[in-house]
Amino acid sequence: MTESTLETSGRDGLDEQAGGQRNSAAPPRSSRGHRFTSYDVEAFEVPGGREEDWRFTPMKRLRGLHDGSASATGSLRVEVDGSSAAKVETVGRDDERLGTGGAPADRVAAQSWNSFTEATVVTIPKETRAADPVTVTVHGPGRDSTAYGHLQVRAEPMSEATVVLDYRGSGVIGDNVEMIAEESARLSVITIHDFEGDATQVSSEHAHLGKDAVFRHFAVTLGGDLVRVNTKVTFADRGGDAEILGVYFTDGGQHQEHRLLMDHAQPNCRSNVTYKGALQGDSARSVWIGDVLIQAAAEGTDTFELNRNLVLTEGARADSVPNLEIETGEIAGAGHASAIGRFDDEQLFYLQARGIPYDQARRLVVRGFFGEILQKITIDEVRERLEAAIDEELAAVGV
């Protein structure tokens, strides 16, 4: 009935601790930004669920992706459509280009890396502008089957493209996605996790930005029983610009987890992270971890991370943990904000007091909550699909 908004925010790194005041989590003061990586599964211990990286994840629902017990019993079906400007290849494990976007940073990512049989490589050639979006549709292996995948999207120097990565279907999926924007390339990747209700996916995204590259990422998570996405952005040279946006709608029973790491190791790069989520229904659970590491060399870094959650019903729970680690004083700006708000009765009252019925008022408020971020999806069909999905979600609880 009353609004309770929990908000933390900070600017300039001096308020770094603000992230730790949140009741949900005080990250240990050991570094979360400097991560161990390896292509070897056994280099990572089997996580038990208490580790910092895993403590929010219901381990049982990983269906064995984390402990080696989930051997591949099916395969992913990958379809690529769209711009003829892009080169699409299916390659074997030995292709030398694979892995250049980033190495696995946890056991599931390493497991996926060692388990896929073929990878899809989408290349936007140098100085080419792909006018139409490239759509990569990935179909899950089917209920109770397990499959591992690997995708690399590479925008060569001064190229420009938008790629839609559309996950659908059922099953248990572990995969790595490399998103490489080479010097002065402009790469946008929209990832839609729109699985059936049974699906489990643990996906590790590795974005790699060359000099002056512009990378735009939009993550949409709607479906699945458990979806856990790690997104790491690596700045390989100066001048990189990353904007990482996300929207999730978590229903009863679903676990949706987004973990971000902006690794600023180079000077004069910019990162901006904004995720918004709505939750409804019994034991709907969302987790957002926003880590930013500004290394000593990364002078002139400008970064901001924001996560807002709108809890629509009792029984849903959102965790939101921003974390800034700053190793240089010479930055342009660094800040974060995180909020978990209940549905705002004052807003509903205002709209209803103008005659607008309750269900419509609720729809307006939720659409309004997501509105500004949805407007940033430049592909009309994707935006409309998402708006329709949100309306459908709201209708589903009978409002």
Partner: protein, 257 residues
């Protein structure tokens, strides 16, 4: 002719320390064609009365009745009350981020009129109404009340009054926080509404200055959650001269007598 009858209304507000009775038995009847000025000191419960009539969830009506043409308003949902012809211009209009003013106005007009207004007429209608209130067109694309100044919010409340054209309007301190020019623009808007037909207005105010622009037929003095004295415009003149002092103890007197 329409009537809004408030009968022995008691209401409490939910506070952190529990429920607190604010309205202690309000009686008042407003008929269409009449403007009632409703005046009282800060904290006397004017906004509480307005919210209780509109159905705000924070205010619980514990007894009494509010009848609109004989129909019990208190049994209606918030939106039903609005569709039945009640309008509340709020003292503190609420910001609704992400919902554009134009989308909001059209949704509200569709709801209160029972059908979506024809788009061509509607665009003209909104444009004219905004022009009358000296609201810049760019506001249509802004989020409802978000980042509006106090005066801009009040103009938009009156814009809604104009477009939704209710039977009864409760205007809660629409005059407060307005500079002289804005007060004139907003008062003109309220007068246009009054002249548009048989409308009833409950004009809640703390100060008398708006009454120079909007001539009330009746004036009520509200203290301690009830009406302690009613009269004609001359009562407002007295308040202008001597303030609320004479009325401050009147509630006790009424209760004792």
């Amino acid at each position: 002719m329409a009537t809004l009858e408030i009968k022995d209304l008691h209401a409490e507000v939910e506070t952190e320390e529990g429920s607190k009775e604010i309205l202690t038995g309000v009686n008042l009847t407003v008929s269409s064609g009449e403007t009632h000025a409703f005046m009282g000191p800060n904290g006397s419960g004017k906004s509480t009365l307005a919210y209780a009539i509109a159905g705000h969830p924070k205010y619980n009506v514990t007894s009494g009745s509010v009848l609109l043409d004989g129909e019990e308003v208190l049994e209606m949902s918030v939106d039903e009350r609005a569709r039945a012809g009640l309008f509340l211009a709020m003292q503190y209009p609420v910001e609704v981020p992400g919902v554009s003013m134009s989308n909001f106005l059209r949704s509200a007009a569709t709801a209160t009129r029972g059908e979506a207004p024809q788009i061509r007429h509607w665009v003209k209608e909104v444009k004219q109404a905004m022009g009358n209130l000296e609201i810049d067109e760019s506001f249509s694309e802004r989020s409802v009340n978000e980042g509006f100044s106090g005066g801009e919010k009040k103009r938009h409340e009156i814009l809604q009054l104009d477009l939704l054209d209710p039977k009864f309007a409760i205007l809660d301190e629409t005059d407060s926080g307005l500079d002289v020019d804005a007060l004139r623009v907003v008062s003109d808007g309220i007068n246009r509404y009054r002249e548009s037909g048989d409308k009833g207005v409950l004009l809640i105010t703390h100060y008398t200055r708006i009454l120079k622009h909007i001539k009330p037929d009746y004036v009520h003095v509200f203290v301690g959650g009830q009406v302690v004295e009613s009269g004609g415009p001359e009562l407002a003149d007295e308040l202008e001269e001597s303030g609320y002092v004479r009325f401050a103890n009147k509630k006790e007197a009424t209760v004792q007598s």
